[in-house]
């Protein structure tokens, strides 16, 4: 019995972090600390128009008056905001990368090690990649082909210069800088991220993808992503994240805004594997992210899928504001925590328009001494006639030192609403593993089969390239399961 308990005490989820190397890159870094001067420095480094600087300064001043949030189920050490570098860019020859040839070869190599080819010759077919290294975008592929269809896919710093009207119209329209502490901070100091605009009636022919990598020490990463799907447009967007293993905690406070106009659809998928700290909880990324989509138009649809497998602390609620009549919001999530990780993730579905529909499928897997919480809200406003919601939140525990919590909150203000919420908690039982083993599968294969079965409703919503990667990532986390 005792030997058997050991199999399942969770220590098998401690596979070493594969992306823990860091690159020796000469970087152009701002001094530590945050002040109006730093905000001005970032804006001038980016060569931004005046409206952008104004907006950043407003956000900064607002942020100074705000208090850092601390939630009951959720404790983290104090963050010294003056001890972080808010700008770190790989040093470039000249003023900026005119082409990938100008990007430091170490950076290109780093991305290749991650399996993300950003050089045009090696790029993945069918996926356009924007790679963000520390604070700046180092290469975006497929731009020329996309431009032919009128699709804009570029670093947001470039969009600020080339498409100021679009940026001005939409930035902060879904997540205003007053929204929360980390959104205000991001609005003041964001350094890069992707911008994407799909013109009316265009179905983006390739998956758009951004890979984020934190490399430099003592930096924070504050990227901002803005995706606008105009009337009748469709886009599928993928985001991947990694960071090197370092002893100190690093802050990642991103903002993602999605806007879907009439009949538009945005599918946003994330595989998050920031460095999670070591077995004892030393180091790792604080992943405090605000992600929100607005279904502004009729019949629009926004679908979030996330596989969260990294970060020391994750605090993230990709949400949908269902404003347009008949709009649809979806949230599919797998969150795996091991070692000392904390994950508090979920979604908000705000139903405003008539006949709006939302679906929430959340799967949490916790092991070792980690804590995994689902926190979600479904709010049906009085205007939302015939709103529908279905939520399912399942947890799986591996070992007896972790915890799984489910905190849904449902507010119904219209009697034509229908909502259903279900949640279950289960474990991988010793009996299941023995049964599968007695059919010839080894222990790791058996555990991985059960976990993949548990997560399959989420995995099937991922684009194929990502679903393979997600399965691989979970399997990597499960490495060393025997012994």
């Amino acid at each position: 019995m005792s030997e058997d308990k050991n199999i399942l005490n969770g220590s098998q989820l401690t596979g070493d972090y594969k992306y823990g190397f860091y690159a020796e890159v000469d970087s152009d870094t701002a001094p530590k600390g945050l002040s109006e001067d730093i905000v001005r420095l970032i804006s001038s480094k980016k060569g931004e128009p005046a409206f952008m600087l104004e907006w950043r300064l407003k956000a900064f001043r607002y942020w100074q008056g705000m208090k850092e949030p601390h939630w009951a189920n959720f404790k983290y050490g104090p963050i010294n905001y003056q001890d972080i570098r808010y700008y770190s860019a790989p040093k470039l020859r000249g003023d900026g990368p005119k082409s990938l040839a100008e990007v430091d070869q170490e950076v290109v190599k780093t991305f290749e090690k991650l399996g993300i080819p950003i050089s045009e010759q090696k790029r993945l077919s069918g996926v356009a990649v924007d790679a963000v290294f520390d604070s700046v975008s180092v290469g975006t592929t497929h731009q020329v082909e996309l431009e032919k269809q009128g699709i804009i896919f570029c670093p947001i710093s470039e969009a600020v210069q080339k498409h100021p009207d679009l940026v001005m119209k939409y930035i902060g329209s879904v997540v205003p800088y007053q929204d929360n502490f980390f959104a205000a901070l991001n609005s003041a100091v964001f350094t890069d991220g992707s911008f994407c605009y799909i013109p009316p009636g265009v179905r983006c022919p390739v998956e758009l993808s951004t890979y984020f990598r934190i490399n430099a020490k003592e930096t924070g990463q504050f990227e901002r992503t803005l995706i606008v799907a105009d009337k009748g447009a469709f886009v599928s967007y993928l985001e991947g994240c990694t960071a090197p293993s370092r002893d100190e905690n690093q802050l990642h406070a991103a903002v993602v805004e999605l806007v879907a106009l009439d009949d538009a659809e945005i599918k946003y998928s994330t595989v998050q594997n920031w460095y999670a700290g070591d077995k004892n909880g030393l180091g790792g990324i604080y992943n405090f992210v605000t992600k929100r989509g607005k279904c502004a138009g009729r019949n629009s649809k926004i679908s979030w899928t996330q596989v969260e497998a990294g970060s020391a602390i994750t605090w993230k609620y990709p949400s949908c504001i269902l404003q347009g009549d008949n709009s649809v919001g979806e949230f599919y999530s797998v969150a795996l925590t091991n070692n000392m990780m904390l994950a508090d993730t979920g979604t908000k579905m705000i139903h405003i328009g008539k006949n709006t529909k939302s679906t929430i499928i959340s799967k949490g897997i916790s092991s070792d001494r980690s804590h995994n919480s689902y926190r979600g809200m479904v709010k049906i406003m009085p205007s939302a006639e015939n709103a529908r919601n279905f939520s399912q939140c399942d947890s799986m525990l591996i070992g007896n030192n972790c915890s799984a919590n489910t905190f849904p909150s449902i507010e119904i203000g219209n009697n034509s609403a229908t909502m259903e919420h279900e949640a279950t908690t289960s474990r991988i039982s010793a009996d299941q593993i023995f049964y599968l083993q007695s059919r010839g599968l080894d222990k790791e294969e058996a555990i991985s089969l059960v976990i993949n079965g548990f997560c399959k409703e989420v995995f099937k919503t991922l684009p194929l390239e990502f679903s393979v990667e997600a399965v691989k990532l979970l399997e990597m986390k499960l490495e060393g399961s025997v012994g």
Binding site: L397, S403, N405, T406, P408, S409, I412, E420, A423, T425
Partner: protein
Amino acid sequence: MEPLLSSTAFFSSLLGDDHKLQSGIPQWIRDYRRGDLDFLATARLPSFKDEEWLYTPLSPLWRQPLKLVDRLDGVLPDQFKKYFIEDAVNILIYNGRIAGDITLPDQSFTGVSIEKGDAAFKRLEASREYFSTLTPNDSPLFGRLNRVLFSDPLVISVGRAVTSPGLINIVNIITSPDAAVFPRIMIKVNEGASLNVVQSYLSIPDIAYLDLPVTDIVLDAGARLDYGERHLHSTAGTHIGAVRVWQKKDSTLRSCILSTGAGIFRSNVNVILEGQGASAEINGLHSLQGEAHADSHTYLEHVAPNTTSNQLYKCVLEGESHSVFHGRVFVHREAQQTNSYQLNKNLLLSRECRVDTKPQLEIKADDVKCTHGATIGQMDEDQLFYLQTRAVSRDEAVRMLVRGFMDDVLSRVQNPLVREALTQE
């Protein structure tokens, strides 16, 4: 920052003088009260920022001029006579005071003791560990208020291995406008014993009051309690009640709380399953009309292994009524082989009603089976149509379906005496 409780009319009308520390109250209770009063003097008002009170605004309460009822006055109005049950032990708590002597009619109550006054205080002292505890689901403010202001405790206990087949029927009645009443009831079921208790909470229509009872229940090893509460409050009344249960090894609780809401209605049920094999069934049914409000907070704490909890809370809403369900299940690391089931179902019959529900699970043990769910929906049009094609009028069909929705809860009340007492018109 919220204002201090001590700055309100509420505070000065209830806690203005210090007589709560004098007059016939044992010293050991007065010691607790000193600490409670210090707490209350510096306590801040709960507001919407306070998660526990997010959906139940208390602001009307702080403005209310309330008065403590020091003595029994008037004759019990006839309309309440029907709530006294033949063959049961009937105990009247009238405007917060236990009225008359308590007589145990026949052999079906052998081994049962029901006490008030000094004898009851003595019993409370013997169970100080429970009396003095504030459980995680207790509101620190209201829990302490009851402890400071209760004056007439009732203690029911049943001896070891005694199975009492009869019913103990406690009838709480408020007739005095602006009364603030603080019933304090303790039910102790000793090892292997069993007992049936029902409480009714009644008032004359439309008067304002504050009803703030605390009922403590201790179930020893192998004990069983069948427990029911029925609430028929005034639409202007405020009820903030706490039921706190401690369960030892293999004990069984079956409980059901029915209400039609109130101006402010809040029911906190806290069950601590601290002995192996203990099981609790906590059901609730609210039928709300007009502007009625009903807020149920349940907290099931699985401390020991092999414990079971079942919760079914249903609510039917009409008019501009508002229902809140906040259910928590907490499974401690040691509580392996826990089975927990929680379901909240709401049926919306009008356009203006509102539902807020938070069914929550917090789990630290890996070998458990926990399921929870919440649904919110309307009358099924297909079912209505089907009934109508069988010659039933639409109104009648609605009534039938609502009845069916509610019967699901009532049919779970296994004890026939308790079920009859809860459902009699």
